[in-house]
């Protein structure tokens, strides 16, 4: 269980500094408006803020009352304008996090309160959720960029990377794939050149950085997760590193908010495990615990005193954690049994491997007929469509309300549902348009269109990269042999395989065909600098940046790869995601 790291695995940098920086800046901003003040916090910002500061810090800096805001513009303008009408004078400050947009200022101007309020930015864009996981907590990145084509967050990403290189030294080796990855990289490089010298002379702490767009691999994110952490996320929704376990888990009448990270010793040992291993582990743990408690029988007074003062606390802690995770497992089992999970997984595997397509299709249709859940059905349809490279639209509208045709249109635009043959029409438009404009602009249009015309070549890519392991006999999930274990041995996550291959080669060499099939010919890049200053330890530290979100399954798979190869991976994601979040982001009808 819980494989140890290789003895030569490098130490992770200390990311708690990021929290301190964010806290310092927050305090600085609070002090910009001296005296007593009320604070209105937008709902989405509360959980991240919680991880940085607490009420007492706010109180220390003279925050009087706290309010939760769900409706931004109406609030700011109505607040200020109401005060104006009442003849009350106050000072107002609007703090945008992580950055201020011109569009927001325009709104303030239009509402007639520009000038009455002062605007600031709280550049809080990197939240360390765990020792190896940094989240930008920008779930909206996915929809904004991959659906709407809005590049507003690219600068935020570039700033975050810039901050990291300021704190942890330059990255000697950079790789990336995806249109957004390339743009973020270029913008980041511009920033670095602007401030040339700041990072100069620093020893790099992290040897490699790998940027990857979510749309390079939708398939992995669409799969049901079966490693423990992923399953907890799919079932209970981990939010900002913590989860709300309801009464069904805590076996009491209370819900419990629990932080899930490496500090939780029980969780840390099972988080990356395939779910089928978790039971055995937990029962073993329970037996050990029992044995340790039992030792107190037959102790004399002195030993007992020792036991109580030294061990009892730890045992109690472990006991609490154990009963929580056992409760969580039980609850997961109940929910999954109800959903016919086994059959669902079987269908997913069939889709990934590309056999029994007709059966899978009819399973999905039945799934829809049975009204299981719109999000689930959408997810399966997308999976079918991408793996089979065809439009798999069923009569979902009838079942979940006609508004879903808006959602379908969104899924198509984002490339989650692929069209049957869009190529020809697009080429025609493209060539017509290119005749009208200069060469430079034409190039850009081609870019824009190629992302629109994206066809999924999943089957071919899967073959090229060997994503479906050939298994003789049973795949032993207790002793995984490759990253496929995160999907029960059926499929190696495409995103992780790409990263593995590139790191092995230290370039994209020999991967041309794969890159072409991914429609990323113009967006796969490498950039190496001289490695003379990088220690061999730092060269085994890799920062992976997921633009548009990564899943816990991918994190587990790369942690596994790290253990195999003696690397350590650090994850930077715009947000932790899963299939349901992807589908909800595309949904026009928020369920």
């Amino acid at each position: 269980m819980a494989f140890p790291h290789r003895p030569d695995a490098p130490e992770l940098p200390d990311f708690s500094m990021l929290k301190r920086l964010a806290r310092d800046q927050l305090i600085y901003l609070l002090e910009q408006l001296p005296g007593k003040k009320d604070l209105f916090i937008e709902a989405d910002l509360m959980s991240p803020l919680d991880r940085i500061a607490n009420v007492s810090i706010l109180k220390q800096h003279e925050v009087d009352k706290l309010y939760k805001v769900e409706n931004k513009p109406a609030l700011s303008s109505s607040l200020v304008n109401a005060d104006k009408l009442a003849g009350r004078t106050r000072k107002y400050k609007v703090i945008f996090s992580p950055q201020k947009f011109y569009a927001c200022e325009m709104v303030l101007e239009e509402e007639g309160i520009y000038g009455d309020v002062s605007c600031d930015e709280w550049a809080f864009s990197l939240l360390p959720l765990d020792v190896d996981l940094l989240s930008m907590e920008l779930p909206e990145f996915f929809r904004d960029y991959f659906l709407e084509g809005d590049q507003r967050w690219i600068n935020t990403v570039a700033q975050a990377l810039h901050l990291l290189s300021t704190l942890y030294g330059p990255f000697p080796n950079c790789y990336g794939i995806g249109r957004c990855a390339k743009m973020a990289y270029e913008l980041w490089r511009n920033l670095e050149e602007e401030e040339d010298g700041e990072t100069k002379g620093r020893r790099p702490e992290i040897g490699h950085i790998f940027l990857l767009d979510r749309d390079v691999d939708f398939v992995t994110a669409l799969c049901s997760q079966v490693v423990y952490e992923g399953l907890v996320d799919d079932t209970f929704r981990i939010k900002c590193g913590s989860v709300d376990f309801g009464p069904e888990v805590t076996s009491s009448d209370k819900s419990l908010k629990v932080l899930l990270n490496a500090e939780d010793k029980v969780f840390n040992e099972i988080r990356n495990e395939h779910f089928s291993n978790v039971f055995g582990f937990l029962s073993q743990k329970a037996r050990n615990l029992q044995a340790q408690y039992d030792r107190r029988r037959g102790m004399d007074i002195k030993q007992m005193k020792n036991f109580v003062s030294q061990e009892l606390k730890g045992l109690k802690q472990e006991h609490r954690l154990l009963s929580l995770h056992i409760g969580a497992c039980e609850s997961i089992m109940k929910k999954k049994t109800k959903q016919d999970f086994q059959e669902l997984i079987k269908t997913e595997h069939a889709l990934l491997e590309g056999f029994n397509i007709r059966e899978s299709t009819s399973y999905i249709e039945e799934h829809i007929d049975r009204q299981v859940s719109p999000i689930e059905s959408l997810r399966l349809m997308c999976l079918l469509s991408i793996t089979e490279n065809g439009d798999a639209r069923c009569s979902l509208d009838t079942h979940y309300g006609p508004e879903h045709l808006l959602t379908f249109s969104n899924l198509r635009r984002a490339g989650l549902l692929t069209e049957q043959a869009p190529g020809d029409t697009l080429t025609a438009v493209e060539s017509k348009v290119s005749k009208l404009v200069t060469d430079k602009a034409a190039g850009k249009i081609t870019d824009a269109f190629s992302s629109l015309a994206k066809r999924s070549n999943f089957r071919a890519i899967s073959k090229k990269l060997n994503l479906i392991p050939r298994v003789d006999g049973e795949y032993d999930l207790k002793v995984p042999r490759d990253m496929a274990y995160v999907f029960s041995g059926a499929y190696v996550p495409l995103s992780c395989r790409i990263i593995e291959q590139v790191l092995e080669r230290r370039s994209w060499q020999g991967l041309d065909e794969v890159v072409r099939l991914l429609n990323c010919s113009d967006f796969a890049f490498t950039d190496m600098t001289k490695e003379d200053k990088a220690s061999s330890e730092s060269l085994r530290l890799i920062l992976v940046v997921f633009l548009g979100g990564c899943t816990f399954s991918e994190i587990s798979a790369l942690r596994f790869l790290g253990r195999e190869k003696g690397y350590r991976f650090i994850f930077l994601t715009t947000a932790v995601t899963n299939s349901a979040r992807l589908m909800e982001a595309m949904s026009e009808v928020k369920a």
Binding site: R23, D24, K37, D38, L39, E42, D44, L45, M46, D50, N54, V55, S56, L66, Y67, E70, N71, P73, A74, K93, F96, S97, Q99, K100, Y102, A103, M106, E148, R152, N155, T166, L167, L187, N190, E193, E194, S242, K254, F279, G280, L282, R287, L289, L315, H319, R320, C329, E330, M333, Q342, D397, T398, P402, L406, S409, L436, A441, K444, V589, K590
Partner: protein, 512 residues
């Protein structure tokens, strides 16, 4: 209080109100649907092979629970709540706000003060942050004196590399580069002096080549204000990246009119239609919504979507009639079905299948001529047979109307013989019946109709239809399986007797 601070996650400058309203509505709808559909609470585990693991899990749970007495004796219950595994208080700010679910929307009701909870004071004071990085060094990265640097560099004709205009460009372009540079770094910049179209376009090109969406949008706001929409649209048509930013911007600020004009100009008819159609989500009043949907019929949707729009309109029209009628019936209190099973929610705006379920539940026996009859719905909306049967089965089973269930699967051939037939397969029928707590006799009847012997045996075992299991084993002449099954029935029960009788029978030629 002298000051107010508002904290926003940036982006989404507008439109949040709309989105919020929608969210609320959908939440309700979803809950209601589940009310209709959740036929029963989850029963015992009967998951195929997982029995062993579950019992293992249960065992560990027992073990852990048995320790509780010892563990809890000197512990207060709340300890769990405060335990913090990362060394910081869990849920402090969200927790303190949670209680005032006030939506500080358009009015003052959201401004009601948070209940100040006495536990505020109980928060331990965190030590002052001891960052090695001073504030000033951190802010340098953000407020960027560096950009002043490069500006003066630029003025002294040695501009920073990346934003340097290429030599030999006309002078105007210098200004463009600097402005974009300013927009990017300094965030205060007037674009008013760019009055020629060429300058404006140059500005846009520079912004796009920088990749920062915020800057692109800033330039677009300026162009939108200073160019006629025809010129703006014409220029954006060949600049797709900028075009997408403008579309998103218009969506966000809710400038529907300009958005529709833009789609019309671009000849994107389908997007135009969808955009128009999307507006119905903001209309609460059912009659107004219906009228609005009517205006959507005939818009240039794809053929498939067109049919759905038409159906959407027809469905809502129906629902309005049914709703008025049923609300009246319910409040009159004369109709048995409504008295026994009061409606949990209105049927307005529900999906078609939910509507069908509703009508199978409340209006099953109505003649085809009425709007609310299930058969009428089936015909009007061309609901496939499978879907119809599934829905009707779920509804009738929930009402425990077993005769209706029986009739649903009974067909007569031309000779008048009756035959059982299920388009969805009897295994599915059995599962649905089980979910609705059908009695064993009923279940048994349908398990027996499952054609595939293995499936039949599995289902019978899963749902404890002992007779079916026993008879099937007998028919299969599978002595071993029968013997194994003996241990699963109650001691001394009729089933055990039956098994014993079979096992000792000399008339069966067992295959094993």
């Amino acid at each position: 209080t002298t000051g107010l601070i508002l904290f926003f996650q940036s982006g989404r400058p507008l439109g949040a109100g709309v989105r919020l309203g929608m969210g609320l509505r959908m939440n309700r709808t979803k809950g209601d649907e589940e009310e209709y559909w959740n036929s029963s609470k989850f029963k015992a585990f009967t998951f195929d092979d997982e029995d062993d693991e579950l019992s293992q899990l249960k065992e560990s749970k027992r073990a852990v629970n048995s320790l509780r007495d010892f563990v809890d004796d000197d512990d207060d219950d709340d300890d769990l709540e405060r335990v913090s595994w990362s060394g910081e208080p869990v849920g402090s700010i969200s927790w303190s706000i949670k209680e005032t679910a006030g939506n500080s929307g358009s009015s003052h009701e959201g401004r009601e003060q948070l209940k100040s909870r006495n536990s505020f004071s109980s928060y331990a004071q965190l030590p002052k942050p001891t960052s090695t990085y001073s504030l000033s060094s951190f802010f340098r990265g953000r407020t960027r004196p560096g950009s002043f640097q490069s500006l003066s560099d630029a003025l002294s004709d040695t501009p920073a590399k990346s934003y340097a205009p290429e030599l030999g460009r006309p002078k105007g372009e210098y200004r463009v580069s600097y402005s974009i540079h300013w927009l990017f770094f300094c965030q205060v910049c007037s674009l008013e002096r760019f009055r020629s179209l060429q300058d404006k376009l140059q500005l846009l090109e520079e912004a796009v080549s920088m990749h920062d969406g915020n800057v692109i949008t800033a330039v677009l706001i300026f162009l939108k204000r200073t160019l006629s929409k025809e010129i703006l649209f014409r220029e954006l048509e060949v600049r797709q990246v900028a075009l997408r930013h403008l579309i998103h911007f218009l969506k966000e600020i809710g400038d529907q009119k300009l958005l529709l004009d833009l789609f019309r100009f671009l000849d994107r008819t389908e997007e135009l239609a969808l955009s128009h159609y999307r507006e119905h989500l903001n209309i609460r009043d059912p009659d107004k919504r219906k009228e609005f949907l009517k205006t959507c019929i005939g818009l240039p949707f794809s053929a498939e979507d067109s049919a759905h729009i038409q159906d959407h309109y027809t469905l809502l029209e129906r629902q309005i009639i049914i709703e008025a009628n049923d609300r009246h019936l319910e409040s009159a209190g004369q109709t048995e079905i409504f008295r026994k099973h009061p409606r949990k929610a209105s049927i307005l705006n529900m999906p078609l299948v939910t509507t069908l379920f509703y009508s199978c539940f409340y209006h099953y026996t109505e003649a085809e001529g009425t709007f609310s009859s299930p058969i009428n719905l089936k015909k009007t909306f061309k609901i496939p047979d499978k879907q119809y049967v599934l829905t009707a089965l779920a509804a009738r089973a929930k009402l425990r109307a077993w005769n209706d269930v029986d009739a649903l699967f009974t067909t007569k051939n031309w000779l008048g013989y009756t035959k059982k037939r299920a388009p969805i397969g009897f295994h599915r029928v059995v599962e649905i019946l089980h979910k609705n707590n059908a009695p064993v006799q009923i279940l048994q009847e349908y398990v027996n109709l499952v054609e595939d012997v293995d499936t039949k045996l599995n289902l019978a075992t899963k749902f404890k239809c002992h007779d079916v299991v026993i008879d099937t084993c007998r028919d299969l002449k599978d002595r071993q399986q029968l013997l194994a099954y003996r241990s699963k029935v109650d001691k001394g029960s009729a089933e055990e007797e039956k098994i014993d009788a079979l096992l000792s029978s000399s008339q069966i030629r067992w295959k094993n």
